[in-house]
Subunit: 329 residues, 2 copies
Amino acid sequence: MSDTVVVGLDVGGTSTRATALTLAGERLGTGRGGGGNPTSHGADRAAAELLTALRGALAGVDPTRVRAGTIGLAGAARLLADPAGRAAFDRAWAEAGLHCPYAVHGDALVAYASGTAAPDGTVLIAGTGAIAAQVRDLRLDRVADGHGWLLGDAGSGFWLGREAVRRLLATLDSAGTPGPLGRRLLTELLGTAEVAARPRDTVDALIQAVTRRPPVELARLAPLVVAAAVEGEPEAVALIERAAAHLVDSAGRIRPDGAVTPIVLGGGLLTGDTPLAAAVRAEAHRHWPDAPVCRAGDGAAGAAWLAARELPEVTDPVALHALLVPATD
Amino acid sequence: MSDTVVVGLDVGGTSTRATALTLAGERLGTGRGGGGNPTSHGADRAAAELLTALRGALAGVDPTRVRAGTIGLAGAARLLADPAGRAAFDRAWAEAGLHCPYAVHGDALVAYASGTAAPDGTVLIAGTGAIAAQVRDLRLDRVADGHGWLLGDAGSGFWLGREAVRRLLATLDSAGTPGPLGRRLLTELLGTAEVAARPRDTVDALIQAVTRRPPVELARLAPLVVAAAVEGEPEAVALIERAAAHLVDSAGRIRPDGAVTPIVLGGGLLTGDTPLAAAVRAEAHRHWPDAPVCRAGDGAAGAAWLAARELPEVTDPVALHALLVPATD
């Protein structure tokens, strides 16, 4: 058993991370590749990044020791339904010298498993987008939101950025004076916090600055809202509260009232010590007072645990989770 | 004076309308061209459509009788700031045989003038987009919203379409059964009102159906919301109420509390006998109980009146309005 190695991969839009672990929790290696989502990058490019990350994690490891692997990525169902995508991943796996089977799971399940070993619970993720998923027996069950920026992602980084700009435009329409958050946005988007003599000129300039880029890039303004909320600016705090309410509302579409299973918070806006994470915890506590709320951690380690727990020699998957996945809270 | 002719043009995104009127209110001709907005169609194409509409209106009219003209179009300020655009319009004017000067005004002012002769008031327009403008001495003063679908247009046709789809997606997330409005949307977007065995498959199909087209085309779903509201479907009625609140909120950013000047409703969603128009009237009445609310009418006639009222022989512009602009309410 001590010879057994498991491999986990967390494939994201901007990076791919891999980790190789023994069942005793020894971290033999980690690797990193670029963004490897087959949907956005194409199957071949995604497979190449996967291979890069795998080679990093397996440097100096005899690949015949690897007995199980899991790949977590957004849109896992699409990959599984696409023979060319699956074949590209198979090739990367073989080129890394691996002969064991591997499983592909959604990134939401991997985020969940990086935060808890409980078979049932809820994962709530907010980054650029936002999605909530119910986990049953460590499989993704029902999903809420994740509808994309045009139709959903309520409470996400995109949502925070867009709403912040909308508040600023409304202030300028009313001939009001932008507050601290509005001035941050003006500086970020226009290079100056000054409002033009005709405020409509500033409105037009803001709209042009935003529409010049892809809409989803409004998410890059979310850190300004977070920073302003940290300083207690009422406008930013109100936006954070509304975002938290949206996120918990999404979770409530799939999570039963009175549930006591864990809620795992994931994504860039919820894994740090951010005001949004605090607001979501408070809001979730109001809805499900007896449920533990925990934080997603190392996705690659969570993926490795999902792989390891299926091995016949593993009798106590919860104890194994404590060994393999670094605690987050 | 009876020889004097004025010309008005209402230039929209899908059509350009022209009218030639005597100061006695005799309609000598009307003409129509295709969409003539220089911003979206280019200056030369816009000028060609303008000429087509002008020639229609002036067929059989001695062009030397035309003493004044007004062109109303969205983004009038941009045209005035663009020498090439202005030159193209000058050429069209000359090619139509016209020697008098012409003025260019925003389409919002022309809509306002098609509904009232009062020099001061508010115009509130909802079609694909939404904008409110304060009119002072028959010039556009401050403007609210009109920020486009990504950042604004709250309460517009785009907004109604997007919110209706969002409500449907939330219902499907919750494993609920779509109501009458949801079934209309499913039929329109997917060709069937049936929800898949896995509701998430229907969610994904809806998102794909919407994102396959330009975002602004969500506005084409607005008539479904309106039709459902006419039949009293609570979900549609609630959306209409929210849209009306957004529209009146935009007007409130620029219109003083207690104002008694007229409010003119324009745009495809507010000029008909629609539930949104009724809801906006009711909401506006709550905010400004002593203000008359009227409807925008023939924009080309409104433009012609704006031109005519500047002529030295016009001593009673309000009486002239009654002659030139067909009453709407």
